[in-house]
Symmetry: C3
Subunit: 224 residues, 3 copies
Amino acid sequence: MPPQEIQEIYSHNVQQVLDLTGIFVFAVAGALMAVRKNFDVIGIVLLAEVTALGGGVIRDLIIGDVPPAAFDDLGYFSTPLFAAGLVFFLHPQVERISRTIDIFDAAGLGLFCVTGTAKAFAYGLGPVQATALGITTAVGGGAIRDVLAREVPVLLRWDREIYTVPALVGAALVAVLVETGNFNAYTATAAAVFAFAFRVLALHKGWRAPRAWRRNSEVRGDFD
Amino acid sequence: MPPQEIQEIYSHNVQQVLDLTGIFVFAVAGALMAVRKNFDVIGIVLLAEVTALGGGVIRDLIIGDVPPAAFDDLGYFSTPLFAAGLVFFLHPQVERISRTIDIFDAAGLGLFCVTGTAKAFAYGLGPVQATALGITTAVGGGAIRDVLAREVPVLLRWDREIYTVPALVGAALVAVLVETGNFNAYTATAAAVFAFAFRVLALHKGWRAPRAWRRNSEVRGDFD
Amino acid sequence: MPPQEIQEIYSHNVQQVLDLTGIFVFAVAGALMAVRKNFDVIGIVLLAEVTALGGGVIRDLIIGDVPPAAFDDLGYFSTPLFAAGLVFFLHPQVERISRTIDIFDAAGLGLFCVTGTAKAFAYGLGPVQATALGITTAVGGGAIRDVLAREVPVLLRWDREIYTVPALVGAALVAVLVETGNFNAYTATAAAVFAFAFRVLALHKGWRAPRAWRRNSEVRGDFD
């Protein structure tokens, strides 16, 4: 299918609602991390912004869409600001619903891996590269957040429920759909829902990815 | 006002003196961090370079000015080298005047938030985005320095005098000046001086930004 | 010499074999770090990819070659995947030959500092800037790996054999060769071999770079 159509499977309004929802939930996750690390209000805002927008900015720099989309639309900037303000005042309440936050974050993951892969296709990248950029869009902001907050990135840790695999599956589904000419608003939504459900199930069931072969008995305590 | 004029409010020579001054003081701060962390001479040079040039390189990648300005002019590269050499031999003396260094660093902060915002405007970005990139120019190099040296970035910590807020104020002043057509060499200088004075006052008075609502009594010890 | 010829000193096939060799050994080093840090299989793959491709991606973003070369050729993506799989199953054997890995890593260092510098020249950068980007290509991926794994980057530590200096010498040799019109397949190979041998000798002899003047007696214990 023609590249320019790949990105426009949703109407502009639907796309924007989806984007802003994903940005909002990622920003809440970033702001909560800042509160837990005892950062000040500036740290809360900065961590909300980079968590929500970081993955997309890296993707856009790599595909050559400059300035990145995050710099095109004021809504992209102000949504994390709003999320940061909410967390600043209501963090005890937000912490109490942190299982709910995990669900929202899973929604952001599902959404971003699909839209990220689609955008990379729209800029002419091949299916494997587009998949890689879909994963980057979904997990990149969280990785920057963890590096700035001096945490081991969640996506590398074996003692956390799998995070990258659902994004990989969602992105790969999009690649298959585009390559077979079946990518449209319905199949894209299905791919996002599948990645979302995969992540929620992984959280619920405590699914983890294996560590290196014959390494399971050792405890290193690297994650304190 | 026409974008191309925004960046050219100073004569080329004045602009270069200001840029190199900011780069020099940021490089000294980076080199000092490397000495304190016991890095070798290569680490001192690398940390001086990324501290001095990192913020501007990120800005230029985002606005699409490639290769970044830091790669255009040999002075941009050699100034941090010179600063690193100075610190290598004279670090005890430099440490002794570290309050003076803080003053110089504040000058770099004031200068870079103004020139960074102006350059983003010159590349067609809107006022909010240009402000964000002005802040990035001013604080980005220091953030990379802290990440490489495995420190919690100063700009996130509540137990440090405010650093990002003066840059934000300086950048926002530039945005207002440009939008109202009042941006020129005099008002730009005034904005830089205001951000500089704000930072120096914050250092002198120990101004800090608030942490999240109702979180002030807890001590977490995350910053050791 | 004309820029476009600088990058084409080797035949396409030779160039590709050299590139993939460098990518493979860097990926093995990244995957081994992930195993040592007890990351899961996803962490092993991600760390292999960023270690192998990170330096080149930064170089390509800075010179404006987007999408970066790593996104052009499927071999660039699949080689680290293969290396990660190998380390996943054979890590005890690979650890046992870690001196051999160090030799391979030195080969990657020698190769990448030469090809990175040549590519920067081909995109019109000056000799000093091209040298800086050659060093970035050689050491950038390892720096990202260390930051993600929450290690102090090897290239900053005084208690490690010199790593950046051989890359600097190799890159500077290329710059001199290009500027004097003597850059060709033979001299380029010689520069890469020189950087490689320099690094191997540094490992063998335990060469270290000096720390700041009069700082040698202090022990800070920052590297645990």
